[in-house]
Amino acid sequence: MTEQTPTERARPEAIKAVPVRHPGRWITIAVLAVLAAMFVHLVVTNDQFNWRFIFVSIGEGRRGVMFTGPVLAGLRGTILLTVLSMIIGVALGVVIAVMRLSPNPLLSWVAWLYTWVFRAVPRLVLAILFGNLGILWERIGFGLPFDAQIGRLFGITDLNAQFFSIKATDLLSGFVAGMLALGLSEAAYMAEIVRAGIQSVDSGQSEAAAALGLSRGQVLRRIVLPQAMRVIVPPTGNETIAMVKDTSLVAFVPVSTELFFQLQAISSRTFIVLPVLVAACLWYLVLCSVLMVVQFFVERHFGRGYGARTRTRTRTRNAQRRQEVNP
């Protein structure tokens, strides 16, 4: 009996099998296509939608409602409000999450209290409340705490040790009030998201970093947070998209440079209701689509070192490099 070594043996024929058929898929596609066609037909032929009013013009020489000046200004306001309140929310959220996980019980308790309060109060209520803070305090200032009370203690009735102060209604203009209401509320939610992210990182990571001599701040910034981002980013995308829509709440502060407020103003002026709502939906759809693209890239950035994508990419890169070295 002779033994064949693998190199001598002929390579077996490549498999050419008949693939499994999926008739169910084709039926589903057909049904969905018919439903989609029915929907498009309904939307296009129903005059109530008034597509001309939305896209083209209301009258001679004017633009469609989606592109009129006030609506575009409102759109800008909505984007700005989303970005600013998310910046506040994320930055403050990280701080609160770190406080919550700190070994200092006071910090941890304050963070818990913050989350408790700001998650309990509805955003709409918070927005209206911030818009009316001027009723509670006339002036807001920065200086010696409890100056009036300390003054009274020493028999001075009107001690004013404020370095500067400003009328509450000036500081908390509608826009700032809305931004703070949304941002502070968001921070409470972000704090929980960030906390979950930090806790998802294996404790061996911070141990290894500490053993190398990194300080606690460095361990957090360089090792833990970048890894936590993988867990933090997807729900943050959710929060951002929710925020785009929640900006419509500040119409009650009231803030006028906001998309929904502007569109509503048009509908109450022209008595054209439905197309205005459709226009609003379309703008929100556009904004959210852009955000989803952004999220895709952010996720890919923080996924490096994990996914199959980086794997193949570096591998081909290394292979190329090797070829360059010895052609």
Binding site: D202, G204, Q205, E207, A208, A209, A210, A211, L212, G213, L214, S215, R216, Q218, R222, I223, P226, Q227, F302, R304, G305, Y306, T310, R311, T314, R315, R317, N318
Partner: protein, 255 residues
Amino acid sequence: MSETAMVRAQDVHKSFGSLEVLKGVDLVVEPGEVCCVLGPSGSGKSTFLRCINHLEKLNAGRIFVDGDLIGYRERGGKLHELKEKEVAEQRRSIGMVFQRFNLFPHMTVLDNVMEAPCRVKRENKGEVRERAAALLDRVGLAAKVDSYPGQLSGGQQQRVAIARALAMRPKLMLFDEPTSALDPELVGEVLDVMKDLARDGMTMVVVTHEIGFAREVGDKLIFMDGGVVVEQGPPREVIANPQQERTKAFLGKVL
């Protein structure tokens, strides 16, 4: 007891809650010595190793590394806890290698090795890069500098972890079962790197179940059980001719 010892542990006690894990451990490791630590699971080997670089706080006793009291300052007969920054400073000169590698998965191999010298010692980046590349070459991974840890085998990851610790130019290296998470055929490559280190005169404390490594490379072997050092001596003697019943029973099982 010499003043020049690299590690001097005196009567080290450590409890987790009501569970007393270390019940008075004494150990002296001279510079350039390789000390292997053997013992059954749960005997406190990892805990003792983690005490040496203050990842765990002692309840009683003292540990000195190169003459410095770890984690505390003794002033006027009283112990003062060191600040977090000072503890971090002490840890710079003590390298540690973990059972589960603990490489930073979001950084390339090269960045893993460069992280601590760049961030902690704020050394010149170009110099660190050269040194890191040289270290990776030394552990046989020159071709992997741009890979991420997730793309490496266990043995390769552990060799990166050793290079990462060496990049801080430590005077003492602690190994906690560096090969027990590895497939048998990968154990050799990691042990080879460690043997190379020992030949270069690095002081090492190695928790291991590799009796062969202890016999070949070790200058001293301690056997721990139930939170105390049961037996110690030159590895060949202890392995060939254990004096204590518990040591005999343990060696009988692993040999």
